[in-house]
Amino acid sequence: MTTLLRGGRVIDPSQKIDDVMDVLIEGNRIAATGRNLVEDAKGRKKDPGLTVIDVRGKLVVPGLIDIHTHLREPGYEYKETVESGCEAAVAGGFTSIACMPNTNPVNDNRSVTEFILRQAQKAGLATVYPIAAVSRGSEGKALTEFGDLKEAGAAGFSDDGRPVMHAGLMKRALEYAHSLDLPVVAHCEDWQLSKGGLMNEGLVSTELGMPGIPTISEDIMVMRDILIAEYVGTSVHICHVSSAGAVRILRQARERGVRVTAETAPQYLLLTDEALKGFDTSCKVNPPLRSAEDVAAVRAGLRDGTIEVIASDHAPHSAIEKEVEFEYAASGMVGLETSLGLSWKLVEEGVLTPSELIARMTVNAARVLRIPKGTLKKGADADVTVIDPKKTWTVDVRAFRSKSRNSPFNGWKLPVKAVLTIVGGEIKYSEL
């Protein structure tokens, strides 16, 4: 099967392309990227079925990658399944997603990793990269079988929401993962400092009388993991950066050549702790929404490349976890279906160019996970996302493909929408 995406504005930061051209897909590979490929396509006699899709006025980008999601299967299928998560992914323009191990049972062994991959294959939508646990049961005590997990298909290691408090264990994990050439993905939070906290510690928490999570609980762990990585001589990836301190520490580390990568999420770029003033549990997230100064610093870090990836931290929760008192509500918000539109607001506001944004959602993300994705180079997997840059739409959580509705962005008007998502040469989502 051959598909020609004709006349779109192709933005492929991996090749520094930002130009109007065609993209030719043959089978599950990118066959060519260039001008006027119609004749070229027709000339390929071996392909009787040529589909030409007119994407003039649209953006054609490498399939988007979200390296931080929670698919909840196995164990919490009432919140999300691998299939429903993948449906949400392709509707949001994502062709590859990584999922965190905090399932039940925890993804700390080959059978869970294989199960997730099997469910993903059955769903046949986006490519799923399971992140396995650093420690057995994510209990922070004993390392999981990194090698076996890698063979089973794990793409990296993290204890995610249950941060590795034990510095010695973290050192071992970084060393061991380094030998397997897989990333360790760190949720940086010092539990001793954040214990009992419900929101960012600051003026708003003081006003609301809610126990605070100080930024230093994040900063200290970012610093610790950077120091360990630096000492061991390996890389480390820092999840969902939310504080000005973390950005500063990251910037300094990169300046002295530490191989640290970092991501942030749209909520840390667009919302502040002021959003908590109505005690809306959909705004409860970990790390918490921070102050305006923190948001400004995270934006600056994203802009100057200190933070090179945007991930959604898609964390589905049902009414049982969210329609409860703020204190008892679970942390997290869904993001796969809003991530692109929300992130594009930074383009509108002049923080990032379209190409810079796409890099942070494609090639940079692929580099963190060390996967051969995020590019439209000839021969690459034919993962392509087409974005309508003029399609404004209003977020309606009831229309989500995700099983969960926990988004604080309900009712927000977003500037762009993914209208065509192609994974491995096959159309998995289309609004065209």
């Binding site: 003026l203 006003e207 609301l208 009388g209 809610m210 329609e323 008192e325 008892y328």
Partner: protein
């Protein structure tokens, strides 16, 4: 002149006019409680639900008496377990309650923001009877009523609030109310009990008791939560009492006619010495009396506020 709102969730969103209206109305209700027949038919047929997720005999009784003196029917629901434990959501509980069609729900909850969540979920008026460390608006209103009664004004008063400011809903509501009404508020206590950026709420911050209460017209001592000893907010109760217990000696820093208030229940010998607690400047019992009047005023104003 009206309280044009469905709920009373906090002092922070009240205007000066609204606070004055409540206090003036409460003054009128003092009469009712001193008559031989302490009951008026005003809220006949109105049902008030006291939904208490946190034990509080004092506040619950005060609301119950207030409702009964207005001829409303009261239903007390005391539950120590959160809806979460029972496997239903808070919103489920709210909707069940709503289906029973009460008129006013008085909610006390250990989790901040619960009244706000309840008010969004139900049509009925919600009165916050204390939510976590957030607000305790009726307490602040009765405190302000007592201050106004004794000092004939609120503007220009110096009010010291001493103790665990970080974990006190009474402190927050009083800070919001008093600063709005033109009083000067100083907070005192160990720095570990001061929430971050508290000074941005327009209060003076002191870490020495004498500095906090200097020239004060009113001293409000907060209750030390004894279980907080474990969280290292202070080393020992003994050390806390040594530096922050209001006694006959250090009270000399305040004005001669200073009034002592306490939201109760007191730990005599910890934050307040017995001779001060039971001394001539203590208006702690007047606070209780005014509490009923303030709650009658609110039930009345919120009932009539519906169309």
């Amino acid at each position: 002149m009206k309280l044009a709102r469905k709920d009373l969730l906090g002092i922070q969103d009240l205007s000066v006019e609204e606070i004055n209206l409540v206090l003036d109305t409460a003054d009128s209700f003092i009469d009712v409680s001193t008559r031989e027949i302490k009951k008026v038919p005003t809220l006949r047929g109105v049902t008030v639900v006291n939904l208490f997720y946190e034990p509080s005999t004092r506040t619950r009784t005060s609301f119950e008496i207030a409702a009964k003196r207005l001829s409303a029917d009261t239903i007390n629901i005391a539950t120590s377990t959160s809806s979460v434990v029972k496997g239903e959501t808070f919103i489920d509980t709210a909707r069940n309650l709503e289906a029973m069609n009460p008129d006013i729900i008085v909610l006390r909850h250990s989790a901040a923001g619960s009244p706000h969540m309840l008010s969004r979920a139900v049509r009925q008026s919600v009165i916050n009877a204390g939510d976590g460390a957030h607000e305790h608006p009726t307490q602040a209103l009765l405190d302000m009523m007592t201050m106004r009664e004794k000092k004939k004004r609120l503007a220009g008063l110096r009010v010291a609030i001493v103790g665990d400011i970080a974990h006190s809903r009474v402190a927050r509501s009083n800070i919001y109310g008093l600063t709005k009404m033109g009083a000067t508020v100083s907070v005192g206590g160990p720095i570990t009990m001061m929430p971050r950026f508290i000074e941005r709420l327009g209060v003076e911050v002191h870490y020495k008791l004498e500095d906090a209460i200097r020239n004060a017209d009113i001293i409000m001592m907060l209750r030390v939560q004894l279980e907080r000893q474990d969280t290292n907010l202070f080393p020992t109760l003994r050390e806390y009492a040594r530096y922050y217990c209001l006694n006959r000696k250090n009270i000399g820093a305040a004005k001669d006619d200073v009034l002592i208030m306490h939201p109760g229940p007191m730990n005599r010998g910890v934050e307040i010495s017995p001779e001060v607690a039971d001394g001539p400047y203590s208006v702690i019992l007047e606070q209780v009396t005014n509490g009923v009047a303030v709650r009658m005023a609110l039930l009345y104003l919120l009932s009539g506020g519906k169309s």
